[in-house]
Assembly symmetry: C2
Homo-oligomer: 756 residues x 2
């Protein structure tokens, strides 16, 4: 397996370095983002939000709002059909009808000539509320006498899962060593740079067009068409350039899109709506908070026997993807090591707080923090080196894990060794703490839609010999366009500069589940590979027809047995003339093997799996508790790396975000009110906080992914949390089990308020 080790300073481009020319538009400020977008006659919409965590709307007094100069329309839930929608459960409405369930809940909206007028109009709306008791802690919420949020969900239990593999009771009885602890992680926001914005326009010819950048436009389209009772093909999503998403914007902001659409339909004019940063914190569906009580049992030789987990996750007021995220959080991590016996209970509770969702690694990063912390606690108790403990138990190629995941390729042991070596695991410097952690993540998840597992792509030969790729997958800053370009370039044997990827218009792209579940490279890229392959075949056939002789294609030139040649533009023109206007199009349809899982969820749920091990080196000031993270080594088995510069970018970004979750970030609530709803108060790592990050790629070819590649975008964030937590514990001699690990918490632990 070739190993690529990269340092932050790169002096020359490698062969697989490629950035889509789109990057140029971004760094020069020429890219057109959603907020740059204007339509003639466009209005601006603003939303009135609930100031109360739980209340009944007695009356909305619009007063003379609609008569205010510049105001075009107001909108309240009362005028809309009560047709709930949602991602997993249909538990929300575009605007509150009777109840508000958190501070920020959408109550009314206004469209006006400009943002100022709209804001003033919204402020002029007066709402009579009847206060209701509220509940903020998920454990409290699950109690029978807690205030109820949704009639349909008794005891505020949004979702529950009890999972049993093997016989954990027996295993724990047989265990030599048992460790257990409770770990907590707060809600964290993916803080994409660009606040969500959309422009909705509606007319009888085009139907409803929503101009917005979102990770999964097709999924958004389906939900909105259903919720607003519009024909699906009369809802079109057109995407400007996207200012980040990190999984937090798979569905963008459905409520914003719907309110803008309803205002556009009502006024007959386009309506632009943009969230403020504060609103982003309220309604941007941050990752679920979780309280995880874990217990692990070992044999004296370090063999892991069992794990038990009692997990409660905080749904907030509405569900979004929280059930799916809770599921991943509760189980994915069980497949990093051989754990034959598992007993897990996970409950998702409604609370009168910000509704939650997901962020990059779909809860797996939270689980990593808990499990990898507990593993180190086990290693201490067992007196076994934490690296050796991990190497003893970690999964390998050919394994089927406890939940049925089929491991077709795995270099996890190599990742652990490489990360350990690079941080100097066996050559430690005095005064520093060392931590290590491992992760698995689905690459190309197959569980989002039973009838739709794969992806399709089209590769079109243009009249100038260039290639256009149409894909439903989305480039939201992660570099999918560049990766697809490189894949097509390899298949066709032509320069990446000759290829353009288009993906941001639901009218012209194949449908797709979108940018989630690590689908882009593994599934989307595979479809692109197949489309390019089919196009290559069609080009060769057409050229053979032209030259009346079999041909071979090399570097964009078609050569016949008798050495006659024809170039791509002529092939394109030939077909174009024959068909009077059509182009050669290769269709790629990647339909993966179905994932067969039983009612307990046992089965193979992804095309393949990525692995990683991170190592961290930290220093802790024992007087103040202050933590300095010096180095993070990120060793990854994401199969063959398609686009090295982009892969390195993913590692730098994801590791930094993981560091944010480890040491900096988290929602603070005060009776349901977000106390740090601004980027001044909600602290994310700045450039000065970023340590030396060393990416290592173990290029272990995957049999399924395109050119042996697997996903990387999500897993980069996962093992940081465990590695940093373990390194801090190693340096401080005490362990913090409540994220983020701040100086205060370390200080408190050092002061004896909490210790291992």
């Amino acid at each position: 397996m070739p190993i690529i080790t990269e340092n932050i300073t790169r002096e020359k481009k490698t062969e697989t370095d490629f950035q889509s020319p789109e990057v140029w538009t971004k760094v020069t400020g020429k890219a057109v983002y959603g907020n740059d977008f204007k339509l003639p006659g466009m209005l601006y919409g603003k939303i009135l939000r609930s100031p109360h965590p739980h209340a009944r709307i007695k009356k909305i007094n619009l007063g003379s709002v609609e008569a205010m100069p510049g105001v075009y329309a107001s909108l309240t839930g009362a005028e809309l059909p009560e047709r709930p929608y949602g991602i997993v459960f249909d538990d929300e409405l575009p605007l509150a009808a009777e109840l508000v369930r958190y501070i920020g809940d959408e109550v009314a909206a206004v469209a006006a000539v400009d943002n100022e007028t709209a804001s003033k109009a919204v402020e002029a709306i007066n709402v009579d509320y009847e206060m209701l008791p509220a509940v903020f802690s998920p454990r409290e919420a699950l109690k029978p006498d807690a205030p109820q949020l949704h009639e349909k969900f008794k005891d505020n239990l949004a979702w529950e899962r009890n999972l049993l593999r093997g016989d954990s009771d027996k295993a724990f009885r047989e265990a030599d060593v048992i460790v257990e602890n409770t770990f907590t992680i707060p809600s964290v926001h993916s803080t994409y740079l660009e606040p969500t914005v959309c422009v909705a326009a509606d007319d009888p010819y085009n139907g409803l067009i929503i101009h917005t950048a979102v990770q999964s436009p097709d999924a958004v389209r389906v939900i909105i068409a259903k919720a607003l009772e519009l024909p699906l093909s009369k809802v079109r999503i057109v995407g400007p350039v996207m200012g980040g998403g990190f999984g937090g914007r798979v569905y963008g902001n459905l409520k914003l899109y719907m309110i803008a659409s309803l205002l556009a339909i009502k006024t007959g004019r386009p309506v632009k709506m943009q969230l403020t940063r504060e609103e982003e914190f309220l309604v941007g569906r941050p990752m679920i908070a979780a309280e995880m009580h874990l217990k692990m049992g070992f044999k004296n030789d370090g063999t892991i026997l069992a794990r038990e987990a009692d997990i409660v996750t905080d749904n907030g007021a509405y569900s979004a993807q929280a059930p799916w995220v809770s599921k991943t959080l509760s189980e994915r991590n069980d497949s990093v090591y051989h754990i034959p016996n598992i007993k897990t209970r996970v409950r998702l509770a409604y609370t009168n707080k910000v509704p939650t969702g997901q962020y990059r690694a779909y809860g797996n990063q939270a689980a990593n923090f808990a499990t990898e912390s507990l593993l180190d606690m086990g290693a201490v108790k067992l007196g076994i080196d934490p690296l050796k403990l991990r190497l003893k138990n970690c999964v390998k190629t050919g394994d089927t894990t406890v939940h049925g995941l089929k491991i077709k390729s795995c270099a996890l042991a190599e990742c652990l060794k490489a990360a350990a070596e690079e941080i100097g695991w066996y050559d430690r410097k005095k005064g520093y703490g060392y931590g290590i952690s491992a992760a698995i993540h689905a690459s190309g998840s197959l569980v989002f839609d039973k009838n739709f597992r794969g992806a399709a792509a089209l590769a079109r030969l243009e009249l100038d010999g260039r290639i256009s790729i149409f894909s439903g997958e989305q480039d939201y800053g992660q570099g999918a366009h560049a990766t697809f370009t490189l894949i097509a370039s390899r298949v066709l044997g032509i320069s990446p500069e000759m290829i353009t990827v288009y993906s941001r218009d639901t009218l012209s792209s194949p449908h797709s589940i979108g940018a989630l579940g690590n689908r882009q490279t593994t599934i989307g890229g595979k479809a692109v590979q197949m489309a390019a392959k089919r196009l290559r075949e069609l080009i060769v056939l057409t050229a053979a027809d032209m030259l009346e002789d079999p041909v071979v294609m090399e570097k964009g030139t078609l050569r016949s047995a008798s050495d006659r040649i024809v170039e791509l533009p002529l092939v394109a023109y030939h077909y174009h003339s024959l068909t009077c206007g059509l182009s050669l199009i290769g269709e790629g349809r990647y339909v993966p093997e179905p994932s067969e899982y039983d009612e307990t969820g046992y089965g193979n749920i992804a095309v393949t799996y990525s692995f990683a091990a991170h190592g961290a080196v930290v220093e802790v000031d024992k007087t103040t508790g202050a933590i300095t993270v010096h180095k993070i080594v990120a060793a990854h088995d994401s199969g063959k790396i398609i686009n090295q510069i982009s892969a390195i970018g993913q590692v730098f970004g994801g590791t930094t975000q993981g560091l944010g979750m480890s040491c900096y970030e988290g929602y603070l609530f005060n009776k349901g009110e977000v106390a740090n709803a601004s980027l001044a108060d909600y602290r994310i790592p700045t450039s000065l906080d970023v340590p030396d990050i060393t990416p290592i790629f173990i290029e272990n070819e995957d049999p399924e992914g395109p050119y042996g590649a697997k996903g990387l975008g999500e897993i980069v964030q996962i093992p940081v949390l465990g590695a940093v937590a373990n390194a801090v514990a190693d340096a401080a001699g005490v362990r913090v089990t409540d994220l983020p690990i701040t100086a205060e918490k370390v200080y408190q632990a050092l002061s004896g308020w909490e210790c291992e």
Copy 2:
């Protein structure tokens, strides 16, 4: 043959009435036209034009123009490669390099923050000219000692054609009656409502995108990519709604697009440019002016023996489509009647005036005026009723005309009779003048590109069971979208409301020659018909696969032999799941029989031919010469009418424009300067000038067109001119041979300055 006679007042919709929902967006002011379109950071461009008809640029003093606040860039020909471009000849540059050749010639351009600043900057540019002698009359221009416009074109002869069929010298010797006369027609502008506007934007990812409404975006794209040396697929034309074109905007305004593009590339910002109405008159390529000397010979029984023509057309300073228009003007009209012997000389001369182009009927309307006037003069001399003379000589189904046109369907005689009857030809009211005239026009011209005669279309089944049609043909107000919708609706047996036609983006539509040569219904519609047919087959096959039984499709429902049914959305989802994201797409490729014509141009040059006869009833005040046109009857053989309301609209509009050319319109020049470059001075008919217009459709099914349809859009304008000219001559007793036929000219003729 069913005959539809329609009056201007229609009380109820007929079965074939359908307007695209796009019409709704227009009448409610919600349609987004080019000038509504804005991009962030957009600049505004203005052009400095030559004030001289012919001069050498000694020096362009930009002075401190680029330093003016708000000015981003200036552009002159000196900084551009001298790479001439053109439609027929490459005889122009985006900006003048050394010479200016007419008042209005583009000399320099500026991009600034707004139109005002750009205009001021342009005014601040100082140009030193050396005056050169100019020539304004085409006949003068052809003389050897005339000032020369282009080195490559000796004696200012842009193009010449000498055509001989049969033996006209012999025929004239044998003729019993000979008439001859000279007819003139000035340049006329198609005065589309919307002045030409474009927004050009360029970046390394998207390439050059020109947002502009144009009849033939693909043709524009090819010319611009070549002229600016850009890869073809890196030039994209995206069309907003178009405010008319009438053939005058087949290529839009190439120079405007190029200058905007060059300024966008130079500044790195989007640049909007819009012509003023005055500029439209200068650079909007009005139809060529022509002087036609015609001679016709008859036998005493009215049989036409021969026609001789000496025609000089006025090209202005640059060529555009003028050679092609001159060709059509000089010959198409020979095929209305059997004329066995033809001798034609046509010369196109460069002059120091506004460059010309085309308008709706491609010169055939000018020829109609001349030939049909001369025919009536022949009838008088022969003592034969003009209607009978026409009926005796007119072509019929199965004929091959003197130039080789193969007449597959023809109801010209029926049109003549219907028009005559409807105006009361044999039941004349005293004091009124009656005129009649006939026309042929190509329907689906095949001569624009030897390698590209037909059209392609795609019909896609959407997930909601609706159908999307993608076509490269353009709806620029003529109703192509509605016609295509009706065709697809008939093929698929579903309501037109379930169908949407998309055509305005070169990225997602098949390539096409565009909206010219009466291609839209006959060729583009045929491709749509074939695409819908193929989609229907695919739907039936897919449904049969689902129901495991053969199925039939009726009204959008698929029914198996065993009476199980499945609806279109389910068929769409089935295919969508099977392919993971693709849709059922029917490809339609209409590749007409090649037109085989020899080097003299003899051959069949169109898919089929449309016919028409118009009748006019006028009154002339013999004291003042004032003309009142009371009624025009427009009898058309355009085969089966696909969309009746749209067909009626074409007749009303085209007839009114023909009336404009007959009695109102024409450029006035004063030493090369346009004396009436405004809609105040250039008089087009207003609603008060429009007479009673009665459309009659002789529904003679064509064997080739879709559902038997033929083109209508251009021919509607043609026979008006001859009919009105003949009616005025009939009423006044004198004939005006110089268009427009104004009261002054009639008065002059009545005063004896000119008479028959």
